[in-house]
């Protein structure tokens, strides 16, 4: 396991290493904090992503990030307003 093909966790870390380059060019502490929270979100659901075993790394990664954000929205948040044209 993890030799012939990398495990999800290995592939994820590989990808996040690339993303790290992105983070290097962020200029404000707020953006950097948000970026690191995003990376944490990507890692948080590694167990679930492994369980799915999707051949598409990005699918699982983005799903993790989105869920991490969605889970932190208050349950009684007002529905999103339509974007004004």
């Amino acid at each position: 396991m993890g030799r012939t093909s990398p495990t999800y966790r290995q592939a994820l870390e590989e990808r996040l290493k690339r993303w790290d380059e992105f983070g290097r060019l962020l200029t404000t502490p707020e953006e950097r904090a948000a970026f690191s929270a995003l990376c944490r979100g990507a890692r948080r659901y590694a167990a679930q992503a492994t369980y799915v075993g999707s051949p598409d790394l990005l699918e699982s990664l983005l799903l993790s990030v989105l869920l991490d954000l969605a889970a932190r929205l208050p349950a009684d948040a007002p529905p999103a307003r339509p974007v004004p044209r």
Binding site: S5, D20, S36, C39, R43, T50, Y51, G53
Partner: protein, 771 residues
Amino acid sequence: MDGAAPTPDGWLLDITESDDGRSVVLWAKDRRTKVVRRTAVEYRPPFLVTGARPHLAALERHLARDPAVARVERRVARPSLYDRRARTVLSVTPERNPARRSLARAVDAFGGFDRYALFDVDLTPPHLYHLEHDLYPFAPVTGRGANLTATEPAATIDYATPPLTVARLRVTIAGERRGRIAPPDGRIGTVRLEGITFEGPEEEILRALVDELARSDPDVLLTEGGDAFDLPWLYRRAAALGLGPAAFQLGRERVAFGPSRPARTFESYGRLYHRSAAYPVPGRFHIDRENSFLYDDAEIAGLVDAARLSRLSLTTVVRQSPGTCFTAMEMAHARALDAHVPWKKNRPERFRDGDHLVAADRGGVIFLPPVGVFDRLDEFDFASLYPAIMVRKNLSAETLDCRCCPTSPIRAPGLGYRSCTERVGLIPRTLAPLLARRLAYKEAMRRPGVPPAEAAQWKRRVKMLKWILVTAFGYQGYRNARFGRIECHEAINAYARKLLADLIPAAEEEGYRVLHGIVDSLWLRPIDPDRPTDPAGFARRMSARFDLPLGYEGRYRWIVFLPATTHGLGVPNRYYGLYEHGDFKLRGIGGRRHDTPTLVRRFEHEVLDLFRGARDADGVRALLPRALARADLFVERVRSGGWPVDELLVAHRIGQAPEAFVTFTDSVAALRQLAEAGVARGAGEVVRFAVLDRRSRSFRARVRAAELLAGDERYDAEAYVEMLARDAETLLAPLGVDRDALLDRWGAAPRPEREEYRSPERTDQTVLTGP
């Protein structure tokens, strides 16, 4: 059968190969006199060759002219587990036993490496003798020599352990302390053998030792480092003094001086290991605690059990991994099915595409726990989950996707691999009795009124079996495993993953939330803290529902899940907690690591001791100031310069050949010191040292290797203050402690910035709270 076994005359201790290459030597201990008798029995086992008829005929003609071959015969057999019908095989008996392997290689080469399949080649004659004669190490026996018969089967659970006499042996070089490097011309100053110390002129010591061994006649020599030091040194000095094998005999028969098995370095799970050479003491067993993976957990009671079940000599069991024992157990079961042991596994992995690999090649479910301090947590573990799955789902190389059951309802979730419903596979056959055994041992251990010494013995057997059961799974995926198959490995994981997924809603139905889970363990917390849960009932109901044994490990007063230093999220296997029944469970913290200096272990002990008083999570949090005060005291004492240097030893396992290191590290400095003192250390070995001046560029000033330690060295206090800070952070991070703040508190220089850019993930390492 009237069920009453005949009273044994004694015990078969061991079978060894004899020097003449044509027989094996049986070592049996008499029940009344306790004398160990040596009997040589002529025995030259054949190996089997299969192949197409014309090829077999060609080989038969070829071997008939070979002087290394005693006999070639045609037989009818079903050598492979995959064989559905009997077929003609050649049975080849070598002239001399040691030639088995070279002869087999010649046969393989004669067939162009693909025309013949060979069986039973690399089983040793003693091992085959056991299998063929229904014998096993430590069997109670009647009769003698070739008529030796076991009075009960190896599978007997409640057996009487043979009375083995154990003698501790310890050699010291004149004028030297143990553990220091002995000079090449060093003489033996003292030898201790189980309470008796021999001193005086060297030759007298050696002769006295031989006499005492003959008099007390111990079965087991127990040493600490005997393979690397005591035995080679004894033989070396005996040779230097002109004592030959006739005069200097540590075993029960004379033997040439020299190792019977060379030293080797090997890799396992990404780590390099080193095994010292083994020196023979024929007729006795030598257990080197430092060269034995299993001894520390299993001790003699466990090792005897493993030897009985695997039919491997205790000498082998001691030095080999549990995987070797498991493979040998499989061999015994294969032979019971009249199958033979393939020499090379001629079964390549089936071709599968990349997507299938991603889907199939996954491990068990491993959650990331929330970082923080928690209480009211119940822990549940499946007992031997993977072996139990293998047994329940009949997972074995020859029963997976078999041709006889295309519509089998037993299918690996998500992968579809079918299990045979017609016959029981070799792996389940091997594992089922082991699982039953482990349960029986556990029950015996907990029987009311069982004397502590007996309970301890059961416990060691349980531990031994645990290791063997753990390997059973891993060996399915190991390319050299004789009866393994990667698809089994994948199927087991698939069943286990599905199980954990099914348990999440099942636990919620019972009022539990899953806080953490690793493969076969679950940490659950009541959803409503005021509604009492029924953990024992939960375990029972889940065991019944999933037909796999879930056990209730206990409730935690509190447990701390620790973060990774890199990204601050929880780490699956790094936590410490206190059960309500008063035991700690520690995983991944300093004290569990082999490289941690005693200083750090002591600090951890103090903190844990302090936290022992906490009733719940709040209690732990309230104790933080006192934990930090303890840390302050440690720092103060370390800085006073008076901490004993031998408690400051850091250990490092050398991960590569010493000359391959490119940066100058503490380990490199220690290795150079050792090299200068004439001691070579290779990859896989451990180097231990105290840090004297971590900034020094000189390998002599930077550290001091443990073997060269005088005891009065001045150590680098700040290096150890940093280690304390690192460890305190590891333990206390969830309580808001961080390393830099600690260093600041202690007025230490801040850690040097390794790189200009610090990953943003590291700047906000704060306490994360659980859900």
